[in-house]
Amino acid sequence: MASKGATVSSFVQSAPPGELSNVVEDIKALAPNEVRSLEPAFKKYNEEQYSTVKLPGSSEVVLVSSYNTLNDGRYFDTASQTSFETASNAQSYTLDSSHADTVRSLLKSFSAAATEHFPSSTVGVYPTDSDSSVAILLVANKYSPQNFWNGRWRSSYLLNPTGNSVTGAIKVDVHYYEDGNVRMSTSKKVELSGSSADGIVREIAKAENKFQEELNRAFSTLAEGSFKGLRRQLPVTRQRVEWEKIAGYRLGQDIGGGRSK
């Protein structure tokens, strides 16, 4: 049996897009003593979900990830050259990386390309820990709690600057919860290459378009396949059941028992 701390941490980890504060309220009501043990879970959630933060003293929104964390609980932003604690205490930050130029040009192209497909998104480009590659990240959120749905799109790519090859993943989460709880989650690994910042960003947009088209097709496959195969809209006879006569349906006696499929 998992410890209480592990249980409430797992609730935080699996909170739907835009609903972390609701989940925390529920945890407070259920297990108030466990709330103070949640700090590591919050950090992990923020870094995995690319939580966005408004830079103190600026209108700039930046994201938080494991790629732009500094060891003292602060994060850095390459575009504004700032380091920050989540929501307070901004300081200037100088990027120390052999890929500083690549970071800058990718940031420019990727930001421009993002506005072409995402009505609202936050991007970040960071050299990774060992300076061996460059992380290109995007998060787009759309929350509509008054209509009981929330959604999040995350793109994560790692560029290997020596070979100009990129590996990455797209993840999309949607939650709908009007008198129910419906969750869509999907992920797709991506591999591509490009010889310049513009070229890489173009390939990313192409791969994301392709994924989104495939995802739309997958919805149709499920609607036309699995879903239809579970329960018919009407019986084969195209007639609703005549419950008054149901005792007389031959079928009733013929189907017998023991069918398990």
Partner: protein
Amino acid sequence: MDPFDAALDLLRRLPPSSTQQNLNGIIALRPDLEEDLLSSVDVALTSKRCTKTGRDYLCCDYNRDDSSYRSPWSNEFEPPIEAEAAADLIPGGRIRRMEESLNAGVDVYRELYYEGGVSSAYLWALEEGFAGVVLFKKTSSAGGSAGKGGWDSIHVLEVSEAAGKRSAHYKLTSTVILDLGLSSSAVDNLELAGNLTRQTESDLALTHSGSRESDIEQSHVVNIGRMVEDMETRMRNLLQEVYFGKAKDVVGDLRSIQPLSEVGRERDAHRDVISKMGR
């Protein structure tokens, strides 16, 4: 916030594919909520084979006593329970007659709509009237790029008869748990899982000549069957809308395949045409 409400709110937010696991987690945090949660949270149904008849039946909190379940086909608990508890929990007389007839009815209904799967109905007496649950479960075994799926429906009923038994009031709370998924090279993994709950109430006539008890019983089965059929048909449409319409729309709201500058230009052009037509 009341802890019970907080538990329900949490289960409405966390991934529905892990409801059972999260329910166990909440109960470990708050053992005092166990009974209330088990009777109000719907989880995917399990089936068992009735040793007496060889037929499959579905298990839920309503046919459970400790770790024994009552088969609707044999009307016996498996494994057997103590005689005293059995006397309280095993329905007899009119409740059992209606239960048998309802099981026969939903069995035909199941074959017509589900073309397979398992169904069970359980009834129990209330101080006034009676209550029941009608259950269906179907899984589709195809996998991979064709997708897999599971449907569980749970219809809980409360019935109160009007004086003179000319009509009855039916209250129906229905939950469908629908779990779909596929994996292919085009989208590595797509999971669409969840549940929706809807309620309805209705006063329906009990048709009988004179006051023959068997006619009244049959009338209840017809009314319940029809209400369940209406509700399932409505919910199937709703599920289709939410799973394939809403989810897809939200993805489209997050990201547009068509470049937004083109979308903007088209909108401007469209507005231009409209304004010229208005002149």
